[in-house]
């Protein structure tokens, strides 16, 4: 009989109208590595954030070792034996390695109100040595170490006190193979000591290989918990998406010729530290994909085309030779851009849906040089309804909307502006399957109308499924080009990426 160490009981969490975690009841056993998978927005990170006290729980509870867990922040969670290694940077700049490791627990080195830094450094170094990270010096500033080393330091920080439950939230994508191996080693060690690891990852092969059992979430609901030895990647995908995964929501046509008319050309464009000497052309009615690893510079290409890059060199020109050097000229000449950073760049987050949709189109909404609120609201309503934004009315603030609906507002803005060249950076990031399908349908529709689209995406399947042509980038430069083909596979693509 397995012993349960942690149990989530009827846990719920909502953000505005989004019910992110629905009534999840989930036991975790002692001495296991449990995979936690699901699509973006399925509630994995939200569930774990509640466990760690980062988010408050709307209703329900976590039971750890028979007692209700009641924590308000990570330090309290640590004291109760729960810790996390986060997806992003989890260490603080401007502090030493030792200060980072003992952040929130400095009290143990304080005597009579004075902190004994020497003792703290000594103990931190002893821990680093014990983990085999001798090359890291506890007294150095954390900023002297690269992302990878800082993740290793986080491993020490999250595990030195032998937590009963360790959460690892999509950490491996940021690590090289050797960094991953270190992480796997410590995951196994923690399990072998009789404690529990909750492992969140999008890499299904990795999840199957390194976990004992796997729980699947979909749209905030717990679908199933399976034994890792019994499942294949395809089984997991099926559980995650809720049906046999096919390409139904992608385009199905192949071999249709794309027009020879060039609508936009990018010549020798460089942005310091981001992209080197990029040149390509976009044709009328073409969906051009740009893919690669997240850090390959592809996201900057979208900004460069939209005139939003700092210190850009080289030329971006339209068919008639008009140079695009600023956001205003880009918008004026019918270029639209949906950024990967939806909340800060794509939208004015603390503003109404109406304003967000109307902002670039204000000039054309004037009647006799006068702008009436009524016309703005009508315009916003028309385009929000057209792509069915889920909202109360157009005066609602976009900050209250879910990720998918925010993206729809962004698209409504540019459809309303009737842009001919549309740059979409990570258009389906964090968006559920249904809205995804809507967005793909919209892209096909735009293509049919003769509009040209650049899709920048980290999701290879999306690029293979939707694009007429795909550019692959690596280290800020072009590394390959593929034409649309049913025989093109993910493997061909990855070979050019890394």
């Amino acid at each position: 009989m397995e012993e349960v160490i942690l149990r989530a009981e009827n846990v719920n969490k909502s953000f505005g109208i989004t019910h992110a975690v629905k009534d999840v009841t989930l036991p975790f056993n002692k001495g296991e590595i449990r995979g936690l998978i699901g699509e973006n927005g399925s509630g994995k990170s939200t569930l774990m954030s509640m466990l760690l006290g980062i988010y408050s729980i709307d209703s329900g509870k976590f039971i750890l070792d028979g007692k209700e867990l009641n924590v308000n922040n990570q330090v309290e969670a640590n004291r109760n034996g729960v810790s996390i290694i986060v997806q992003e940077m989890g260490t603080l700049s401007g502090l030493t390695v030792a200060e980072n490791i003992f952040l929130g627990n400095e009290d143990r080195f304080v005597k009579f109100g004075i902190k004994n830094t020497t003792a703290m450094n000594r103990e931190a170094q002893a821990l680093l040595d014990k983990y085999g990270f001798n090359r890291i010096d506890a007294t150095m500033m954390i900023d002297n170490y690269d992302f990878e080393d800082r993740k290793l330091i986080e491993i020490v920080k999250a595990t030195y006190f032998d937590p009963k439950v360790l959460v690892i939230d999509e950490t491996t994508t940021a690590l090289s193979q050797s960094g991953r191996d270190e992480l796997y080693k410590h995951m196994n060690r923690i399990r072998d000591e009789g404690n529990t690891v909750i492992f969140i990852s999008h890499d299904l092969a990795e999840v199957i290989k390194y976990t004992n059992s796997i729980s699947v979430l979909r749209d905030g609901v717990l679908i199933d918990t399976v034994q890792s030895s019994d499942v294949t990647e395809d089984d997991l995908k099926k559980l995650m998406v809720g049906r046999v995964l096919d390409d139904r929501y992608y385009r199905t046509d192949y071999g249709e010729a794309v027009s020879d008319d060039v609508v936009l050309s990018v010549k020798n464009v460089s942005v310091p530290g981001e992209i080197k000497n990029m040149s390509f052309e976009l044709h009328k009615g073409e969906i051009l994909g740009i893919g690669g690893l997240s850090e390959c510079g592809m996201h900057e290409v979208g900004k460069a085309v939209f005139g939003a890059s700092y210190d850009r060199t080289g030329e971006v020109t339209l068919a008639d030779g008009t140079p695009i050097n600023s956001i205003t000229t880009a918008i004026k000449h019918s270029i639209a851009y949906a950024s990967k950073d939806r909340d800060n760049e794509s939208l004015v987050i603390n503003d109404s849906i109406s304003d967000n949709i109307c902002l670039p189109s204000m000039d054309s909404l004037r009647v006799n040089n006068i702008l009436l609120n009524k016309h703005l609201n009508e315009f916003a309503n028309k385009y929000a309804k057209l792509i069915s934004v889920k909202m109360v009315d157009v005066n609602q603030f976009v900050s209250d909307l879910s990720g998918g609906n925010k993206q729809k507002v962004v698209l409504a803005r540019w459809i309303g502006k009737n842009s001919d060249i549309v740059v979409l950076d990570s258009p389906t990031r964090g968006i559920d399957v249904k809205v995804k399908a809507d967005i793909y349908a919209l892209m096909s529709e735009m293509k049919k109308q003769g509009k040209s689209i650049i899709v920048i995406s980290e999701e290879i399947m999306e690029l293979l499924g939707m694009c007429d042509r795909i550019l692959v980038m690596k280290d800020g430069a072009l590394s390959g080009e593929f034409m649309r083909s049913p025989t093109l596979t993910e493997e061909d693509f990855i070979a050019k990426m890394v």
């Binding site: 719920n12 909502s14 953000f15 505005g16 109208i17 992110a20 990170s45 939200t46 954030s49 980062i54 988010y55 408050s56 709307d58 209703s59 986060v86 997806q87 992003e88 939230d169 939209f306 939003a308 956001i327 205003t328 880009a330 918008i331 004026k332 851009y337 950024s339 939806r342 909340d343 800060n344 760049e345 794509s346 939208l347 004015v348 987050i349 603390n350 503003d351 109404s352 304003d355 967000n356 109307c358 902002l359 670039p360 204000m362 000039d363 006068i370 702008l371 009436l372 609120n373 703005l376 005066n395 603030f397 900050s399 209250d400 990720g403 803005r413 964090g430």
Partner: protein, 330 residues
């Protein structure tokens, strides 16, 4: 995890009092109605406390005559604060513009008005330049220019106050002043509501990066708004001169704080943004002026008035601050 962090709104049935309170305060209606209710309460309160004195016709016209200058200057600052910026140089700007108006009034009155507006606009341009080109936060820039022009004002008035032409107070009538104030308010109201200016300023206040990516020329807009606000204050200086007839080193002292308090009393979120309404200016300035005049009538000393105003200001800011965007004052 990252994208959901700043939109935490509990929606379950058993909400805490705090959550209910926040929800109530977030309603647009609340923001629109509460300042008006505050104004009415303050009028009623002082009507009772002063035994009806404050609502006698003579006192109302006295009250109004003290309101015009602040009302006009606040209209410009309203535009600045909508963008989430601040301006502490208003008082010193008013003083310098008043000096210029006094000098020029001996030649020609239209020239004097124009000179005042150009002076205000120039100081606004200096603020805007450092804000936009040097990327300095607005409160730092305008605190520096406040000291700079306060100093210049003290220098120019070292030996004696600067006097305007002797008969300038013939314009000091309710008809002229009320008309001029109404014209400024109406102009800014029309610009704010029936051109893209209002939406653009609100968008800059609500999210500058997002506004830039929506095609708004953020830098140019900021610079122009600071110049415009300067010119409006330069115009307010004209009202100041026809009322007082001279400028001393303390002219316009503390006006920047009075404007700030007035606008916040009117319900303007201190970080600007989409929740700004034009009525904030009118309601706010009236509330502030009735409050301070009422305190004078009740016989409070200046020091005591400041103390009371400070307490009220703190309470109102605490009630109206928008937790989601308070950190973005530029």
């Amino acid at each position: 995890m990252t994208e959901l962090q700043n939109i935490e709104i509990p929606t379950t049935e058993n909400k805490s009092f705090g959550a209910k309170y926040r929800e109530f305060m977030d309603k647009p209606v609340t923001r629109g109605v509460l300042p008006v209710v505050g104004l009415l309460i303050i009028i009623a309160l002082f009507a009772i406390l002063t035994g009806g004195k404050i609502i006698q016709p003579f006192n109302i016209s006295l009250l109004l005559s003290q309101t015009y200058m602040l009302m006009i200057a606040a209209t410009g600052v309203f535009l600045i604060m909508t963008m989430g910026c601040l301006d502490f140089s208003q008082g010193s700007m008013l003083a310098i513009a008043s000096i210029v108006i006094c000098y020029l009034s001996t030649y020609s009155l239209p020239l004097a008005i124009l000179g005042g507006m150009v002076t205000g606009g120039a100081i606004g341009a200096i603020n805007g330049f450092f804000l936009v080109k040097r990327k300095m936060p607005s409160f730092i820039v305008t605190i520096c220019t406040m000291f700079l022009f306060r100093g210049l004002c003290a220098y120019l008035t070292t030996n004696s106050p600067v006097y305007a032409i002797g008969d300038i107070n013939k314009y000091n009538t309710m008809t002229i002043e009320l008309t001029l104030t109404a014209i400024v308010l109406l102009l800014v109201y029309l610009l704010f509501h029936f051109t893209k200016l209002g939406s653009n300023l609100k968008a800059i206040g609500a999210g500058e990066t997002g506004a830039r990516f929506a095609g708004i020329k953020v830098e140019k807009t900021k610079l122009l708004v600071y110049i415009a606000a300067g010119m409006i204050t330069g115009f307010a200086a004209f009202i100041n001169v026809i009322k007082v007839g001279s400028v001393t080193s303390t002219s316009g002292n503390m006006m920047e704080t009075q404007i700030l308090i007035a606008l916040v009393l009117g319900g303007l979120p201190i970080s600007g943004g989409a929740k700004v309404r034009f009525t904030n200016v009118i309601v706010g300035v009236l509330t502030y002026k009735i409050l301070s005049t009422g305190l004078v009538m009740m016989g409070f000393t200046t020091q005591m008035q400041q103390l009371i105003e400070g307490v009220i200001f703190l309470i109102v800011v605490a009630i109206f601050s928008d937790r989601k965007s308070i950190q973005v004052i530029k």
